[in-house]
């Protein structure tokens, strides 16, 4: 489905919960509040018009004022894709896990927890995946401090 058509359909479908939809570099992005995320994802997966059967990745971005969690969804049947973004507060980044919809989200969410410290509620096993279990802090946060890091001179 074309991006413009998909955008219209998405806005019509989620009219009552007010989502934002923008298109940047030919990529359709919808911005959802954290309360609505699971419902929106379920609709995107199960609605026959969208059929997003594949979750490509879950990641996060550390913005100056919030932490943005990003989901890239692809429909292998309809051949279209959409990016779902959710803004969370830096103090308590918490969001519902989507492992119940796409089992592949499991390790992606663990990685996002490991590096950004986003807590995924109802995740089956939210433990660190890349760094050692006794690691302290979340290294992809901009305010991450570690005295062991040697800085590049003149950098």
């Amino acid at each position: 489905m074309e991006n413009i058509k998909l955008k219209e359909q998405l806005l019509a479908k989620f009219e009552n919960i007010k989502i934002d939809a923008i298109e940047i570099s030919n990529q359709l992005i919808i911005i959802v509040s954290k309360e609505n995320l699971f419902g929106v994802c379920r609709a995107l997966k199960e609605n026959a018009a969208f059929e997003f059967d594949y979750l490509s990745f879950v990641t996060a971005v550390d913005r100056p004022n919030n932490i943005e969690v990003v989901y890239e969804l692809i429909s292998t049947k309809k051949n279209h894709r959409v990016r779902v973004k959710v803004n969370l507060t830096k103090e308590s980044p918490e969001i519902d896990s989507v492992t119940g919809l796409w089992a592949g989200a499991n390790w992606h969410e663990r990685e996002t927890y490991d590096l950004f410290g986003v807590n995924f509620i109802n995740h089956p096993n939210l433990t660190r995946i890349l760094t050692p279990d006794d690691f302290e802090g979340f290294p992809f946060r901009k305010d991450y401090k570690n005295p062991e890091i040697v800085r590049m001179p003149n950098d």
């Binding site: 890349l130 760094t131 690691f135 290294p139 062991e148 890091i149 040697v150 800085r151 590049m152 950098d155």
Partner: protein
Amino acid sequence: MVLIQKALPIVEKMPGGQVVVTSMDAVLDWGRKNSLWYMLFGLACCAIEMMATGASRYDLDRFGMIYRATPRQSDLMFVSGTVCKKMAPRIKRLYDQMSEPKYVIAMGNCAISGGPFYYDTYSVVKGVDLLIPVDVYIPGCPPRPEALINGIIHLQKKISKEKSY
């Protein structure tokens, strides 16, 4: 006569009646240096170069070097690549599981000092010699098979000078 009796355990009768007399150390070291079985174990891109060295073109078999897929049968460990902090306890354990005498070659800049990951990183061990003793360091990113073979020959020279007492 007493001397000859003492020497008997290290004297071997050859077929045809000749007798070979040598020092025990020389025989052991000769055997060790020409049968360095290395552990089938790689960490990063250096491991690709190590595989190339073990394969037919550079052919480590001609040095009597065969890979072993278990640390119990290995004499030599190539630390081939970046040592992450999560991998560090596993490498230490593999080294501890190897039987004596055991040797370690630090292959590539990452295993020597952290290499390109020395600065601005939270996850890399800055040199495998912080974990386990290293016999030979081979710089390069990654070292070519010729460099690796050169390092192995250096290790063989080192082994051939070992004394057991």
